[in-house]
């Protein structure tokens, strides 16, 4: 189902930040903000809570740690003990590098999978884009315009046109 979005484009993240502040002051409900790169300090202004992705990272990392360490412990002490360089079978220092590697591997792959799942991204998914340039050099402040009357729509349009350094204002159905 199509959704109407009214959005303004800015050329600089400072201008976008000022517009976000102004929208917050005016009590407008910001639908979303799009930027070509992460803008420091934007999250708190939008009232976004801290990402929980790193918790997933920690859990997957720990799984990697345990998999590597317990795996090697079992292999080298129970399943197929081999003497390497005259060291004990259970040579913890020798296990550390691989434990580290698997921790990083599990954490990174796990976080990618969680991120894609939560965002609904994946093969075959189409993602409507408001304006191609928001992946390049434009900063977008978007409001939900679904089912708004013309006068309500004008309120948003006037607000966007009233912000400093506004470049363009568009209404788009996605």
């Amino acid at each position: 189902m199509a959704k109407d979005i009214i959005f303004g484009l800015y050329n600089d993240e400072e201008h976008l930040m000022a517009a976000v502040d102004k929208a917050n002051e005016a009590g407008l409900d910001i639908w979303n903000v799009y930027t070509p790169f992460p803008v420091h300090g934007l999250d708190p202004k939008l009232g976004l809570s801290e990402s929980r992705l790193h918790i997933a990272g920690f859990v997957f990392g720990m799984m990697g740690t345990l998999t590597a360490f317990l795996g090697m412990t079992w292999i080298f002490t129970r399943d197929w003990p081999i003497i390497f360089g005259g060291k004990p079978y259970w040579s913890v220092p020798a296990f550390i590098p691989i434990t580290f590697e698997l921790t990083v591997l599990f954490a990174s792959i796990g976080m990618v999978v969680v991120f894609y799942t939560v965002c609904g991204l994946g093969p075959g998914v189409t993602n409507p884009v408001l304006d191609d340039r928001i992946t390049d050099d434009k900063f977008c402040l978007a409001f939900d315009a679904n089912g708004l009357s013309d006068s309500e729509l004008d309120k948003y349009r006037d607000f966007l046109n009233g912000t400093r350094h506004i470049a363009e204002v568009h209404l788009k159905s996605i």
Partner: protein, 541 residues
Amino acid sequence: MNNNFTFTGSQRTLTFALMAIGLLALLFGVFTSPEGTHQARVWSNILHNTAFFMGIAFISTFLIACKISAYSGWHTNFKRILEAFSMFLPIGLLLVLIIVAGLWTGSHHLYHWAADGITDPNSANYDSIIDGKSKLLNPIMYTVGTLGIIGLWTFFAFKFRSLSVSEDKDDHGVGKHEGSSYWRSSKVWAAIFLPVGGFLSPFVILWLIMSIDSHWYSTMFFWYTSASWLVTAVAFTILFIIYLKSLGHLQQVSDEHLHDLGKYLFGFSVFWTYLWFSQFMLIWYANVGEETIYFHTRTRQFPVLFYGNLIMNFALPFLILVANSTKRMYGIMTFMAVLLIFGHWIDFFQMIKPGVYEGLHHHSHDHGDGHGSIIDLDGKPVNVSKYQKDGEPVLVQNDHGHDHKDGKTHNHDHDHGDGKAHNHDHGDGHHHAGDGHDHEGKDAHGHDHGAHDAHGKDKGHDHGHGEHAAHGHDDGHHGGGHGDHGAGGFEMGYHLPGFIEIGMFLGFLGLFLYVVFTALSRASLIPVNDTYHDESTHHHV
């Protein structure tokens, strides 16, 4: 906003009180020192704290130079704290001068390479390995090197400081895009200092700390020591920011700065661990006796220090600082900073004290029979020389044809003649029971050096191979005796810091705080004319 720090009477009282505690501890240490130790405990404390605090001052200078070279701006609002730390360098120079004076007057015997006749082939003390290193390890090189390099660093520290402070008083050039002339000048000095500081610091570390274990050498040691200084300097910076903010200063330093310093603390702690582990694993894996002995001594005789070091400086900061939120909490950051300062002080303690302890026991038993002591059992390299008067290299020194690659060779050597059951018919590769190797109840001990936990008591030793450690790895339960085998056993001030160590640490801390407070009070806390002042004020994580 209060931009000027005043060194108040109560802060003065505090620093002087700390220094008084330090002095009392020092005097107590001097008067309770056992005979014949050449005040080793007090001298090693002086060396320990000198290396620790001088290093903080050096690494702060290095951080300043890094940040100038990297055009870094975020730290500008607290850069006066780093500059104040760097002002401890001249005091560090004086402290090193005391150690140098002690070396020349023979007041301390911290450095085995400085012993009489150590490079004289005709002397009973002759040590061919130290002789081979004597171009670097001799009193003249030590003196010129340490004082010269630290003096050079001091010059740079003052240069950065004066350029930075001059910028405050004169706003000529401020607002220009390319920055003030002072800043441009400091960029040049910083670019010169980075290689000077980076390439010369290993020598200072080598002379001050690593040469205590005269036979031992590790190329990772310098990085590792520098990382320890780095973590400590960041921890002190955090403490000072929190303290100054509590006094109403540094209002422009926000949670964002603290968060980034928390990342430094976390990142450099992991970096330190990486270096610690790399050094350990390379030596553990290669199992070359002269290198392994360093860790053998520490894991067997100083386990609390050795493992406590890892828990304090890796496990705790890793688990506590890994979360985003903890780096913005003042209470947790204060706790972590204090923990890591103490932790890295312990790290330096375990770099210095075991070597001093061994040197002490070496000297004391040198005049005895030289057998059966802990030192012999550990195959301590200095003892190697006792059985090596012909000056041949250690690795081929034994005459049995078995090519032991490590220090334990020597254990076999001086077992001869003591009537024990194990004459090693090396070369024929025969197996013989490990039980035959009891020296004074310290079973199996002469054999498993270098291969931690590879106790071969029940397994028999195949001396036809070069690798002893191959034996008995499936946790043979060795009888008692090794581990913390005897010879003095636990000794306060070497195995753990005692009251004298803590007291002297507080004394040096008082001196450090005095210098830092003085430096802070002499310039405005916020460098408002700095090119990056604005960027720092609006810093976001």
